[in-house]
Symmetry: C3
Subunit: 405 residues, 3 copies
């Protein structure tokens, strides 16, 4: 037994430190070698050229965390026939006021002042017109209507009678929307966008106000792709036109405009670059076939109280442009794991020559059939590893012939 | 020297274009071959079946950028004993008004009208009740209280005396919350959700209003999983019930409801599909053990001025359902890098047979021990590559025996 | 032919079930074996130590979906010379009121009450001061100004004359910002943050109110990294100081503060942990060189109507701290695909010994040159697979010599 264990341990040592290597055989054929080298070359080309250069697959990535503040500047004066002349500043036309990453600039509206909780005849349309009270079911409320029926049939005008409803009266008539935007001047408003980002995994912090920008420049600058690409102050008209839209058109019915800030970064020391790229795109559908509620609008109200304590409100159907600041980006930095994974995986294809079997004995003869065989075998090497069986059968003819040597 | 370099160059050429291949040996044993093929088969099965079909690991992916607009429709009429009859429309019950991806629908409330900056006795509770002024420290403010103590002890009612506070008076008594939702009718409100998404990497743009939908359909349709799965108009009651909740229950104390739109896309030409999938889930905890501030509510105020310029406000503690539209999704498209990586990596396991060493000489004998050996060696092949040392030692017994041939 | 096909099929069977293995040769040299084992050891070390333990590359990941509600508590009393004493509660100082994932706490302000649509002289500065009406172009509006010029030159004070403008008058004079925050008491306000998250791929749902927390604890607790790390109630002052800022400084000009909740989870059964980690960071730039609009502020207005129906407003330039709750995180769970990919890829490097060619015949001799060769060959093995040609040429000297055996 003693000797046995000794023998074993020796054997073990043997196994641990013996160096194994397959016996190989060289086929000194330029042609064959070339074919083999060429396939290798393709793999190397793929690894170096595509994986490394194009895809940067050696990097590990992280996606961006961002915060945005926006501040709109500018004022307008409206003087239309159907409303009093009025002066507009930021507090009037920006909703919501706290400059977040999504802000709405009022450009057009339908105002219905002096609404009170009361009763008034419905707006005339086939479903609301009536002849006498019998046509109006008390308490019924038509989803497409504006209130709850009182059961009475009243004169809407000298010619039309409609059912009376309980609602905020007078009712809003949103058909008379100005076809020229009320706040056309909004196109000259400017917005300052402050954006700070973080790549938590790499502990990288950046701002869209770059270090080289000084405050005097910021006071007067305005974003322009060619002259001022780093200025974070944007003229609304410029944003819209860069998105391929016409401000005045968009201002009438409203819309949604994306201010996309791309923070894609390459953080490797040999390619330090991490600057914001601005782009602009209309996010809602301009004029869709299925045109339900085109553009962008919403209703809000200002509530007042009359001296005698009655509540009144001014209903505003606000049309305008909502600007969404969308920040996205991916940071890449050299990582050992992705490198090894991609390299390693690619290398498997470098190995695909170990597929010639017992043909070796004849391989250094230079017959045509032989060259064919070697070639097929090389080819076989690649696809074989993917479909072992099929390819084998495909090649069995040749192989069989050779086998019967 | 001349000849030397010439020799070298020749040698180099030799090396560059010689074709190498390991000498191999065939063991014509069905059993052994089968074992080997079977392991190969498993790998292939894994690659084709799982990696490609199930995991789609050959795709590169991108995550979604999205914008959402929502528009709620509907009105209600409340006529309760403790408040005047009132008509409610969108401008009254939706907060905030600008239809973003998160909107709150008011369903229940505690209204405290006519609040002014003044003094009034605290609401009675152990910490606020007092006998005389000595019990009320002037200027002290109890975090759980409603104002700053004036130092006086006043009659809250004929029976109870409490410390007087400076605050918005009268104080809100939020214990008398209606146990039936005030705006029960909210369950029939509908919301139109417009959602545009982008996969920047693949430059793919989509809307949740699909091309085949026309506006006449949009005017009358309502989302229903079976009959109208593509209609972007949702009845609030339907949303809540799909989330497994009862609207009227939820309406009393409020809650948060997620409208989840899944935009997972397979953009490969052989499987073009990229449609939104709607699902609904309650996002807050229904009735947690640790029930602090259950449901969802917040306070806001409407500010008025009396004719004599004094500021008054109506404080509203708003209970209701906040609907969060959560858009997520991943697009996949065939990419050469992930394909090669996954395939290549899997292939390494195809190679795990190159592990038989100097047993070859005996491998074509058909003894039992031998078959065992071959099998163990095959097995060894797989785990060996992971733990070279251990497995070696494990097999050293056998190996040693054989080695001593 | 008959026999031929039979022969073929036999050949096929042969090919399908024969077991192939390369003839190998053992070099019983401890030194050489050691070199080879050492390289193997490094690979294994990398796979086990780094890929598995550090990088957890065997996991597939998913990123978090989250919803947040916030509820601020606290009140303040301001009693300054230039304004009436006033009591502030949540409805007064939190904007917007509906507790979402971003809320603003008012700490300082410039109030301009009783503004009406009218005319008043501009604030004096070089561009607005005038001598007579000729200096004021009617209808012109200076972007840096406050309104549209009427063309008149009026007395701003007894000493200064400035152009008159149409605007909301009186104009806001935002230079007289209190240098001590008006709502200094805001530092003692508390905020309850409720955060529910989901990892859709793994169908995992979590809340930041952990199961072991009971409501009595929640009523009195306050977040503290050491004593109460799981309490979701935060004192504003504590948040700010953890972010390395001084509340009272920040309160004067305002700023943006990130409450970052990290939900990184390891969902494998052997390492179940999925708890929120809170951290706090100032997101805007404290005192940048390019100091345009430092801090954080915005303007909003409360609109009133005078008894005679004229609209007046109180303009508030609100300075304060915006708290953004930023939720991020990645969940990892064992996945077969990433495991195989990473393992497989790493294994390719284990194979890099199959590189010795026709030196085998001499390999068991123990000459110095030989050992060198073996070593170089091993080394060659690794780099060769990456740059086949170059290394070959590099080694051709040696090789050539040997080749000429």
């Amino acid at each position: 037994a003693m000797t046995k264990t000794a023998g074993c341990c020796q054997g073990c040592l043997h196994y641990v430190f013996d160096y194994e290597t397959p016996k190989t055989l060289v086929i000194p054929s330029i042609r064959v070698g070339f074919v083999f080298r060429f396939t290798q070359f393709l793999v190397v080309l793929y690894v170096v050229g595509y994986v490394c250069v194009v895809q940067k697959a050696y990097q590990e990535t992280d996606s961006v965390l961002s915060t945005v503040t926006t501040k709109v500047k500018g004022f307008a004066f409206t003087n239309t026939s159907d409303a009093d002349p009025r002066f507009w500043d930021v507090a009037d036309y920006v909703v919501p006021p706290q400059g977040g990453d999504s802000f709405f600039v009022l450009t057009n509206m339908v105002v219905t002042p002096q609404q009170t909780q009361s009763r008034c005849p419905e707006l005339p349309n086939p479903s609301t017109s009536c002849v006498d009270d019998c046509d109006c079911i008390e308490g019924y409320s038509d989803p497409r209507g504006n209130g709850i029926l009182t059961g009475l049939c009243e004169n809407y005008s000298t010619t039309v009678k409609t059912c009376e409803v309980i609602s905020w009266c007078p009712l809003e008539i949103d058909t008379k929307l100005p076809e020229h935007a009320l706040l056309a001047a909004a196109e000259n408003f400017t917005v300052l966008i402050k954006n700070s980002i973080t790549y938590p995994k790499f502990n990288v912090h950046r701002r869209n106000i770059l270090p080289h920008i000084n405050s005097s420049y910021l006071k007067r600058c305005e974003f322009n792709r060619t002259t001022d690409p780093d200025c974070p102050i944007f003229r609304l008209k410029h944003i819209v036109s860069e998105a391929g839209e016409e401000f005045q058109d968009m201002a009438v019915k409203g819309g949604i405009l994306g201010i996309i800030i791309d923070w894609s970064c390459d953080l490797d020391w040999w390619a330090r670059k991490c600057n914001p790229q601005y782009s602009f795109r209309r996010l809602d559908n301009k004029n869709p076939a299925n045109n339900v509620a085109p553009g962008f609008n919403f209703r809000f109200a200002k509530y007042y109280k009359t001296p005698d304590g009655e509540e009144t409100r001014t209903l505003i159907k606000a049309y305008g442009i909502r600007f969404d600041v969308v920040v996205h980006g991916t940071a890449g930095k050299f990582g050992i794991v992705p490198t090894v994974v991609n390299l390693g995986a690619a290398l498997t294809f470098l190995k695909n020559k170990h597929k010639i079997t017992h043909l070796n004995e004849v391989a250094d003869t230079e017959t045509v059939s032989d060259k064919l065989n070697v070639f097929t075998r090389d080819y076989q090497g690649l696809i074989f590893s993917i479909f072992p069986f099929s390819s084998r059968l495909f090649f069995c003819q040749t192989a069989d012939k050779i086998h019967s040597f």
